[in-house]
Subunit: 354 residues, 3 copies
């Protein structure tokens, strides 16, 4: 059973997740059977920051199900420029549309939207916080190319500290007896709470500092970008930058069954020469993402599948995260989950000392 809204991939049970991946597979096998599945339905894509790729993926998914789309991709063209708040926009658009995909740089924006929406909300990215349909895309890709999610050895390379897609993928794959190989500079390895999750689920992990060491070990290599400014100094960047770039030479060290994923867009971290290697499947991954979104939309429009999003308790506190949606949208009810000496903001997951 799905929650009414998809804000965080953790909202899904494993059984929900299997159901979505299974339907994505069936749609890919027989797309013609699903043309018309969303006839007379409208998807609104409210993109407060541009992300052509993600927006097109949602739009294509809806159109290939026989539905229609409305929306915007430019806040300067929207009523937002006239100072309209989240609540009013969502109240009204959820009266026009049957389902909404929302992207906004404020953390917790999609969850706040779910409070006021008359239709299901899909979180299409809320700043650096959550981006569940990217993880669904990754999982669909693994399922389609590996046939089974269990027991894979997965290398994660790049900025593992700040990469939200990396964290989300690790958390989910911990349900499937994965082994993880974490490839990054020591400064950019995964946060402690992710290590705790791997430990708790009994999934072993190794930390390495070069791709060369990792390549022979992997069933899957998940590449991400390291931004120049993440390195400790310009000198360190110059010294390290090529260590985390995938090229033909490093690919030669990988197994025959290796699959290379990347959430795209890439910049320099994968050389174009790798594109012709059959193990490079990042372009296919984008297409699997369309099937994942088709499946998700069908699930969310099925009224049987609707469950409320969970909120904690009201507190007189104020979230301290400067990127939290509550900073701008002052009327939002102040709710937190109590966690000992901390309050965890229900919107952005920011932690505030009591």
């Amino acid at each position: 059973m799905l929650s009414r809204h998809l804000i965080d991939l953790d909202d899904l049970s494993l059984s929900d997740l299997h159901s979505i991946l299974q339907l994505a597979h069936e749609i890919r096998e027989r797309p013609g059977d699903y043309f018309g599945a969303c006839q007379n339905k409208i998807l609104a894509t409210l993109f407060y920051e541009p992300s052509t790729r993600t927006q097109m993926s949602f739009q294509t998914a809806m159109l290939r199900l026989g539905g229609q789309t409305i929306g915007f991709d430019n806040p300067l063209n929207s009523s937002v420029a006239k100072g309209e708040n989240l609540k009013d926009t969502i109240k009204i658009v959820s009266g026009y549309a049957d389902i909404i995909a929302v992207r906004n740089p404020q953390e917790g924006f999609a969850k706040a939207a779910s409070l006021y929406s008359n239709c299901p909300i899909i979180n299409a990215g809320d700043g650096g916080h959550l981006h569940p349909t990217q993880t669904l895309t990754d999982l669909t890709t693994l399922m389609e190319v590996k046939g089974d999610l269990h027991g894979l050895t997965i290398g994660m390379c790049g900025d593992l500290k700040n990469g939200r897609t990396v964290h989300s993928l690790i958390k989910t794959m911990c349900h499937f007896r994965s082994k993880f190989v974490l490839i990054s500079t020591p400064e950019l390895t995964v946060p402690q709470y992710i290590k705790d999750i791997m430990d708790a689920s009994g999934c072993p992990y190794t930390e390495l500092t070069t791709l060369e060491e990792a390549m022979p070990l992997l069933d899957v290599l998940y590449m991400t970008r390291i931004q120049r400014e993440r390195f400790s100094s310009p000198e360190e960047y110059e010294r390290q930058k090529n260590v985390y770039v995938l090229d033909k030479r490093k690919m030669a060290l990988g197994r025959k069954e290796l699959k290379v994923l990347h959430p795209l867009p890439r910049v320099d971290e994968i050389e174009p020469e790798v594109d012709d290697d059959r193990r490079a499947i990042y372009f296919d991954q984008a297409i699997y993402g369309m099937y994942a979104r088709m499946s998700l939309i069908i699930h969310m429009l099925d009224e049987k599948n609707h469950y409320p999003v969970q909120f904690g308790k009201s507190y007189r506190a104020k979230c301290q995260n400067p990127r939290c949606v509550t900073q701008q949208e002052r009327y939002l009810p102040s709710t937190f989950t109590d966690c000992g000496d901390m309050l965890i903001c229900d919107y952005c997951d920011g932690r505030t000392l009591i």
Copy 2:
């Protein structure tokens, strides 16, 4: 019978108006019956200034009738940036589309467009001049929530001097034995010509300066924004600003059957705490607007309903209104309605002394 184009709500007879409101009601009751009513038809939304709300409302209306949409919402992205005139744009787009909704800051733009269009034009706002589909939205809302337009006591609050939606709603409601309560600062009350219309139609009106006095009298409260710069001085603004803000305390003075409308977007003139009051129906109003537009599109595409827009006579005069469409589009025929010692511009209704 409708005119071919909807430029001004005055183009509609009362019988036209009833027919549109009636169909809006039927569509809302049985939307499935009307899916397909505009199949194979295309609506172009030409928005020379951004208005996401209005544009989405038109797009959704057309999509829910089984039609399709094209258009733009950003003049910088359009051929207009290359210097194309109104005539050429309309000539061509009216060859692509079956019906056009046009919004432009120049007063009289939509009427000028009607001269060159091969398909019906809907005025979706021409500067501060006319915005007939907002009034249709308001009327549909009143009809749906009150069941009858006759004999209502309607409060209008805010900037009644400059608010085009206020003027248009008063003019139309004068046909329905309304009583009006005008709530504003003395500087921002309705213009004399609107008072003349109320007098001529025998509709009584009262002018009040506070919401508190008005609340107990009203069947309907139509809230609008007062822009800070409309007050006579910053000191006056500080003193008055809260008088015209609707909050829980003022709502408590209202009747049980009161309905609060607002054309949206709001800024500060209605406190979010009012949203949860069942008498606040401004979010529903936006949805009624979609049904109003669905009904309007069906009527306008029905070829039986097409009548020409009225124009006056050619004069060698030039309209003096700096915001008139004739200032920029020099090739437009110069036509006016003779009104004693005045010429009234057929595009913008601006008055020029002879």
Copy 3:
């Protein structure tokens, strides 16, 4: 038979061309028969520079065939702003869409796109280089209004040196025993290679410097714009500017069966007073363009019609044209057609001395 992609009108054989014009005619006669011809198909319009007219024409064409559209018209809103290259964008969008129309100011962009696309590419303009659907529009217009392309006397007026639509139309009409009348300042007449083509095909041409001399001779007048900066000096511009402006007086010198075309948008080169002359068909021309694009889309989606685009040989050379797509997209294979002491770039047709 069509090539898989339409990059250059020269990719089409005369038989392809006839087939497209014939189908455009049939669609115009019985549009209802073709609604549904592209059901379940998606056209992506990737417009890296704004061209509302052309984009709307493509979108309308697809929608009137029962298909759907996705796309963008503003590179600042796209992933391109994050530095994504042509290859990645095309790889992914060609997985979402069934056919792509691409416009980009870089010369050779569409041809480069064809290297990576999983679906047919239509060149909707690559800088000053090629714009084949404009020429298809012109040909469809001539066919529809004249009934036959053979033996026409065609006047071309304006900037004949730099006008890509002029060159493309002359090249194609050389197959149909045309006579050409070239009307321009001596500095702005057609390049020598176009004269060579007319000579080689046995099509006579006359060069004139005034519209007055030309008017009585013509079956067709193809007007284009002369940009102010193309004249040899500001004085020359002032002296000449009206010579190439079409007005009522010059129209009076034309034959009864004359047809006046213009690719639009126009600026000052045709007076609005000419629009009411029945021989002025430039607004109809835009609508014929929609039928031409409908026909083209149907042909290109027909899998029987797919042939590869031709490329020359790999060289270690680099194209010298600063507007060539290879300047920015460095990974593109460097291929040229050897032409004696020259290499002709396969993307932009730029010439490089060996």
